[in-house]
């Protein structure tokens, strides 16, 4: 689906990261692999450390903590928020939605529209599209877009395929009108026929969790996980990203009548350094224009990766100047999408730790 907006902007970005940090070296011995090969994996993929929640921390805990920080510092007032969109694959409950849980905990007004979106790695692009659509409503002033996941709780610590890269985090983007501001054009693509590539098989209504779904099994490669855990077909995801994303980016550039040299930064979802470098090479984008350092510092936090990569790499610049950036997300669904927009100067752009 193509989309196009004008007169909207990102006013500020906040990243909330669990303070609990684990290193690949600490966790290496949990894997059923020879240490030398795990070291090689670390080097190739760019694994080093990641932030994961300690204990039973939920998505709403990170979101409420971040929102309270914004309220306390006067960066947004509760009564300005007309809509709260929360994108997650790790909701507090099946029902009610986590956006409603957050609204209730923050005491936001009854006239706040709350919406959960079940999206992951492309969730920032999907969320922006939804938030900008709401801002087309004449009475909507500010929309808060929360991307949050605590998926480490559903990844087996003995799964070398997924555990080293997973990270928990929450990002909060405040979106508002920018009368006369430049147009934003983008594209979102989906292919549900490949939805098995990234999946938590059990725990829903199709396969409810029971004692058999929690049984740890070894896959053909030596990874240990159960049906309650997240499972990723790494090479299928790699092929998907390398085949589909470059075509999508080229189309987004042409929709916006821009070329790669016009883009100051390509802020993409962060699966791992290996895949991002291959993607940059295939697109002929210099590595310095496409950051790939999130996984090594904080881990891959699903829909929160794009804002957190932006804060990590561009904070000082986007507080002062306006950049032309290309956002792109790709993953679970399968979903892939991108857009080009003007970013900055932002009113706030920070990280906080959740203890």
């Amino acid at each position: 689906m193509r989309f196009e907006f004008s007169g909207k902007r990102i006013a500020g970005l906040l990243g909330v990261l669990p303070v609990n940090e684990r290193t690949f070296d600490q966790e290496m011995e949990n894997f059923n692999f020879e240490i030398g090969r795990s070291r090689k994996l670390k080097e190739v993929m760019g694994y080093d450390r990641h932030r994961i929640v300690n204990g039973e921390v939920c998505s709403s805990d990170l979101a409420v903590f971040g929102m309270q920080h914004l309220f306390e510092r006067g960066l947004i007032r509760p009564d300005e928020i007309d809509a709260l969109i929360l994108v997650t694959q790790s909701p507090d409950y099946f029902m009610p939605g986590t956006a409603s849980v957050v609204q209730g905990r923050l005491g936001l007004g009854f006239d706040t529209f709350c919406l959960d979106i079940n999206q992951g790695c492309a969730g920032f692009v999907v969320g922006l599209m939804q938030a900008f659509s709401l801002l087309d409503q004449p009475h909507v002033r500010k929309v808060v877009l929360v991307n949050v996941d605590v998926l480490s709780r559903r990844v087996s610590p003995r799964d070398r395929n997924s555990y080293p890269l997973i990270g928990d985090a929450c990002s909060i983007a405040v979106l508002e009108r920018d009368i006369g501001g430049p147009a934003t054009k983008g594209l979102i693509m989906m292919d549900g026929s490949r939805c098995d590539a990234l999946k938590i098989p059990a725990g829903g209504f199709r396969l409810p969790s029971d004692t058999s779904t929690s049984e740890i099994m070894e896959d053909a490669e030596g990874n240990l996980r159960s049906l309650d855990n997240l499972v990723m077909n790494g090479s299928a995801v790699f092929n998907f990203v390398l085949n589909e994303v470059p075509l999508m980016i080229e189309e987004v550039l042409s929709l916006n009548e821009l070329t790669k040299v016009d883009i100051d930064a390509f802020l993409f979802h962060q699966p791992n350094r290996f895949m991002l470098r291959k993607l940059a090479d295939k697109l002929n984008i210099p590595h310095e224009k496409m950051p790939s350092n999130l996984v090594e510092k904080f881990g891959n936090s699903s829909g929160a990766t794009i804002p957190i990569t932006t804060i990590l790499n561009l904070r000082d610049r986007i507080l002062k100047e306006r950049l032309t950036v290309c956002f792109a997300g790709f993953g679970v669904g399968l979903t892939w999408g991108g857009l080009i927009c003007e970013l900055g100067p932002l009113e706030f752009c920070d990280f906080i730790d959740y203890a």
């Binding site: 692999f33 020879e34 090969r37 090689k40 994996l41 190739v44 070398r160 395929n161 053909a220 490669e221 030596g222 077909n233 790494g234 090479s235 299928a236 790699f238 092929n239 390398l242 085949n243 290996f274 291959k278 090479d281 295939k282």
Partner: protein
């Protein structure tokens, strides 16, 4: 073929690899190696192979035939 054997030796971290050697017998044969092959094939040979297809190959010879016969 010689060039492909050189690329395989590099991925498998061996000084050289024979055309009929057993791929699974290499110490470095694991999911990372398979992903490196997927990536090589995509980048250099412009083909898309799955991990399953690669794992079904016994030798560099059969892998090379798979790459050349793959229509994707």
């Amino acid at each position: 073929m010689e060039e492909f054997l050189g690329e395989m030796a590099e991925i498998l971290e061996e000084p050289s690899v024979a055309v009929d050697s057993n791929l699974k017998s290499f110490a470095a044969w694991d999911s990372l190696t398979v992903l490196s092959i997927v990536s090589l094939v995509s980048e250099k040979y412009k083909k898309t192979l799955t991990a399953k297809e690669i794992n079904a190959c016994e030798t560099p010879r059969s892998l090379f035939a798979l790459i050349n016969n793959s229509g994707k």
